[in-house]
Structure formats: structure tokens, C-alpha cells
């Protein structure tokens, strides 16, 4: 009997925490489907309204939403593909081959993870100016095209999941370095690549500091910067701004729910092993 009650209490607490986690999404939906006047009432409206169409139209009239979203998609997809390719190639090399300087290069790789990237933003901006990339999406994609975290994380995966004999057998069968990478490494690393891919995509989609600095043309922004500027100029029009926030969140939440299992598994593995 005592256990029964304890189990029930556990679930009540866990469920309340879950509701608090999810409540902001419901409340965003409430604000996005009502008028600002409904939100400004006391007591406020707690149910969904029918104003979503009008609110969406207001967002589209005030900010180049689809263009910003298009930019964000281009940046997130390009960054993710480049990261997956460059990181997996480097990680596989570190995990399965020996060559002079390997350990030193790996230590350097680990050390780079300690450098807070946004603190180099001033010279970074000058570099972008020298390349002619200020205001261009290239300024977001190219510097992010390979990263230490992904290489470190994938290397652990390759080390433990691919046996050396498999690499040797493929080599004896006449596979070159790239052949082994393509036919042995990539197929076996699918779950790890899925995690790194979603992780990179989410990070790129939500990135704010660097796009805010380097995207100087107000007509050519990413979603996050556009949303922030909508908030600054129309902050009092809650229902409209919240609709914008909703529209910026939804694609990512859908992607996350589809891949949730793999993602959570990947996120925890890195922390527990590392």
C-alpha cells in the first residue's frame, strides 16, 4: 500500500514538471489565436481563439517572414551537411588510422573546445569584411562547417563500434581510404550521424549572437534576428509577436519530436561517456 502511494506521488510530481515544461507552448498558442485585447483582459482568456489567420497575416505584413525562414533553412541545411561530412571524415581518421602527429592534433582539437567563440567576434567581423561576406549567409555557414565537438563525439563512436578487423578486411578487398569511409564507416555510424545532424541543425536554426552581428542588411536576416526585430518594433502587439514566435518554433519542434528518441539517446551518451 505504501509503495502504491509513493508511486502515485512520484507521477504527480513528474507530471506537474512535464506540464510546466510544455505550458509555454500552450500559452503561446493561446496568445497567437486571440487578439491582443483578449490577452490584455482580466482574467485573461485561457482557451484557444480563432484569430490565428489574422495574426499570421499581421506577421507577414510586418516582417519578411518567409524570406527569413528560407535563409534560416539554407544556413541550417548547408551547415548540417558540411558538418556531417567534414566531422565524420576527420573522426574516422582519428579513430581508425595511425600517422605522425595524431595525438598532438587531437589534443589541439580538445583544447579548441575551451575557446568561447563569440569573444573573437570583432576580428571575425573584420575577416568577413575582408572576404566581402558581411551580410551574406556565407558568413554563417563557412565558419561553422566543421567543429571540434562533432569530431570528438563521432570519434568515440567510431572507436567503439567499428572493429579494426573490419577496416583491415575492407582494405584487403581493395577499398582505398575513401572506400572504407564510405562502405564501412558511414553505414555503421547512422545513429551517431543522426544525433549530430539534429544537434547541428537545432543549434544553427536557433543561433542568434553571430547572425545579429554579421547580418547587417535588415531585409536579409535569419528567422531569429527577424523575430527579435519584430519584437523590438511591435512589442506591445502581443498576439502578433507571439504568432511570430510560434511560427519560428513549430518547424523545429516537429523535427525534434520525429527524431526525439535518437536525439535524447545521443545527448546523454556523450555526457555519460565524456
Amino acid at each position: 500500500m505504501r509503495w502504491h502511494w509513493r508511486g502515485a506521488t512520484l507521477h504527480v510530481v513528474l507530471a506537474i514538471a512535464g506540464l510546466l515544461s510544455l505550458f509555454p507552448f500552450y500559452w503561446t498558442l493561446v496568445m497567437a489565436t486571440n487578439t491582443t485585447a483578449d490577452i490584455y483582459r482580466f482574467p485573461p482568456k485561457f482557451t484557444l481563439g480563432s484569430q490565428l489567420d489574422d495574426n499570421v497575416r499581421a506577421v507577414l505584413a510586418n516582417v519578411a517572414f518567409f524570406q527569413s525562414m528560407g535563409n534560416t533553412v539554407v544556413v541550417a541545411v548547408a551547415t548540417t551537411l558540411l558538418v556531417l561530412f567534414f566531422d565524420s571524415l576527420a573522426a574516422f581518421t582519428f579513430a581508425k588510422y595511425r600517422f605522425p602527429g595524431r595525438n598532438a592534433l587531437f589534443v589541439i582539437l580538445l583544447a579548441t573546445m575551451l575557446l568561447p567563440a563569440q569573444l573573437g567576434a570583432i576580428p571575425q567581423f573584420q575577416t568577413m569584411a575582408a572576404f566581402g561576406w558581411v551580410g551574406s549567409l556565407k558568413a554563417l555557414i563557412i565558419p561553422a562547417a566543421a567543429n571540434a565537438f562533432g569530431i570528438f563525439w563521432l570519434r568515440q563512436y567510431f572507436s567503439s563500434s567499428i572493429h579494426d578487423e573490419l577496416v583491415e578486411a575492407a582494405t584487403l578487398d581493395g577499398c582505398g581510404f575513401l572506400g572504407v569511409y564510405r562502405h564501412v564507416a558511414l553505414p555503421s555510424a547512422r545513429p551517431a550521424l543522426a544525433f549530430l545532424g539534429i544537434f547541428t541543425f537545432v543549434g544553427s536554426w536557433n543561433d542568434y549572437f553571430w547572425p545579429l552581428v554579421v547580418l547587417t542588411n535588415p531585409d536579409h536576416l535569419t528567422l531569429q534576428v527577424a523575430l527579435s526585430s519584430l519584437n523590438r518594433s511591435h512589442g506591445v502587439d502581443y498576439s502578433m509577436v507571439m504568432t511570430g514566435a510560434l511560427m519560428a518554433m513549430v518547424p523545429l519542434i516537429v523535427i525534434f519530436i520525429v527524431f526525439a528518441r535518437q536525439f535524447i539517446k545521443g545527448a546523454t551518451e556523450g555526457a555519460v561517456r565524456g
Binding site: 510530481v13 512535464g18 483582459r41 575551451l114 512589442g235 555519460v272
Partner: protein, 293 residues
């Protein structure tokens, strides 16, 4: 293995080269250049002039810098302590309740993948003085409403609430994985020895969890000391009333990209970097050091 010339390994170096080339251009160079810039005066147009330690001397005298530093550290504690405490409690509970575990996990993780800008807009609305949900709740209970975003403590509470919401679930999942990695035999041995739940928690669970706790504390420190988006979106570039939401990275952004005082901003950046290293070292000593017996 026979000796081979270093050139025969060219494929491997080529495979590693993208990361190192990008790091040289977009990681090492900006950092080295920032160090140099910290000793210069520059507005981005006129030639750079060497000013020695002047930027750092000014930094020590600059009350706004110290305020931003204080805000950052206060916000860090106000958000990290509840985040990790809630996460630990939830993880222990989740570890014993098996049903619906994956539903809870997904629900707890979603805030962490939500855009910071969207979440900051949401929390600003919830803490809004006249029509925010929090004040409506207080009014319904007959408690005096607060001008949350119009007073220094209110701003800090609003910002840390958002950070707790966004990170408690993430850390819960990490702790849960750590808990599940603890060998069952240790608990059974404790049971045989007659240890109660509390003693088991402090003598087995917590020590075994130490590396994971270190990971979460270090991650929270590196992220927390660089807080930018939450206050910038919620209260604006100035940091709100009494600049009480102004963090040290916001001050860096202000000096660099709004005032074009690049040398001074570089000095601020270097101080943030030192601060991150210092805090990481302290964490390591406090949480990690005692682990090696």
C-alpha cells in the same frame, strides 16, 4: 610497421584539414587578434594605436563593467542552482518510476531545443506588468502585483526563470543517464548492510554521479557566464532599469558593435575568457578534485 615518409600519410592529413584550416582562420586568428586589440585603441576606421594597459586600467575603474560582471554572476547562481537541484530531484524520481518514462523525457527536453529568442519573448509577456500571466495570477489570489520588468530584482527573476525552464529538463535527462549507469549491485550491497534511502543516496548515488555533475556544472558555467540572448531580447540592449539585466557579454556587444570602441571591447572579451577559465578551474577543484582518492 615499416618506416614511411610523412608524405605517404597525405590522405589522413587532408581528411583532417577542413577543421584545422577553419579553426586557424575563424578560431585562432580572431582570438589572437583580440588579445592584440586589447592593448590598442581602434574605432574600425582610423589607424590602430598602441595604448599599453590603458584599456585594462579603464576596465578596473569602469563601474558599468563591474555591474555587468556582478549581474552575470548573480544570474548564473540564480539560474544554475535551482536548475541543477530540480534536475537532480526529477532524475531520481524518473529513475524509480518506469512507466511513461520516455514521454516525460521528451516533454522535459523540448524547452531546450526551443529558440532562445521565441522563449525570451514569451517570458517577457508572462512577466509583463499590466497583463502578464504572473500578475494576473497574483491579482486573482489577492496578492499585490509587481512591476517585474521595471525593477532590478524582477528583471533578474524573469531571466533566471526562463533559464531554469530551458535547462532543468536537459540536465534531468543527463542525470538520469548517469543514474542508470550506476551498477545495481552497489544498491543491493547497501540494502544488505541495512542502509536507508537517505544514506544510500549520499553514500552511493551522489559519489557515483560526480563526473556527470561535473559535466553539467562545467556546461552551465561556460554557458551561464556568456548569457546574452535572454536579457537582450527581454529588456533590450541597455539591460533594462538600472542596467540590472546587463550581462558582461551584452556589455562586450554594446562596446564593440554599438559604440565601435573595439579596443575596449576586446579587453572586456579577454576578461570574460579569464573568468570562464577561472570558474571552470574552481568547478574542477570543487566537484572533480575530491573524486580522485
Amino acid at each position: 610497421m615499416t618506416k614511411r615518409g610523412i608524405l605517404s600519410y597525405w590522405r589522413f592529413y587532408l581528411a583532417l584539414s577542413p577543421f584545422y584550416i577553419l579553426f586557424l582562420i575563424f578560431g585562432l586568428y580572431p582570438m589572437a587578434s583580440t588579445i592584440l586589440l586589447g592593448f590598442q585603441k581602434w574605432d574600425g576606421f582610423s589607424p590602430r594605436t598602441f595604448v599599453g594597459l590603458q584599456n585594462f586600467a579603464f576596465l578596473i575603474e569602469d563601474s558599468t563593467f563591474w555591474l555587468a560582471l556582478k549581474n552575470t554572476v548573480v544570474l548564473f547562481f540564480m539560474s544554475t542552482v535551482p536548475t541543477l537541484a530540480i534536475a537532480l530531484v526529477l532524475a531520481v524520481m524518473l529513475n524509480s518510476a518506469v512507466r511513461f518514462s520516455s514521454v516525460y523525457r521528451i516533454a522535459y527536453f523540448i524547452p531546450n531545443i526551443t529558440s532562445l529568442v521565441a522563449a525570451a519573448i514569451f517570458f517577457a509577456a508572462v512577466f509583463s506588468t499590466n497583463f502578464g500571466l504572473i500578475n494576473s495570477g497574483l491579482r486573482a489570489l489577492g496578492i499585490e502585483t509587481q512591476d517585474w520588468l521595471g525593477q532590478p530584482w524582477g528583471i533578474k527573476i524573469a531571466i533566471s526563470t526562463m533559464i531554469v525552464w530551458q535547462w532543468a529538463g536537459y540536465n534531468t535527462i543527463i542525470y538520469l543517464a548517469g543514474l542508470q549507469a550506476i551498477p545495481r549491485e552497489q544498491y543491493e550491497a547497501a540494502k544488505v548492510d541495512g542502509a536507508g534511502a537517505t544514506r544510500t543516496f549520499f553514500s552511493i548515488t551522489l559519489p557515483q554521479l560526480r563526473p556527470v555533475v561535473l559535466f553539467t556544472v562545467v556546461t552551465a558555467t561556460i554557458g551561464g557566464l556568456q548569457t546574452f540572448t535572454e536579457p537582450q531580447v527581454m529588456v533590450g540592449n541597455s539591460g533594462g532599469v538600472g542596467q540590472s539585466g546587463l550581462t558582461i557579454v551584452m556589455y562586450f556587444y554594446q562596446q564593440a558593435f554599438l559604440n565601435n570602441d573595439y579596443g575596449y571591447a576586446a579587453a572586456i572579451a579577454l576578461s570574460i575568457f579569464m573568468l570562464v577559465l577561472l570558474f571552470t578551474a574552481i568547478n574542477w577543484k570543487l566537484v572533480g578534485g575530491r573524486g580522485k582518492q
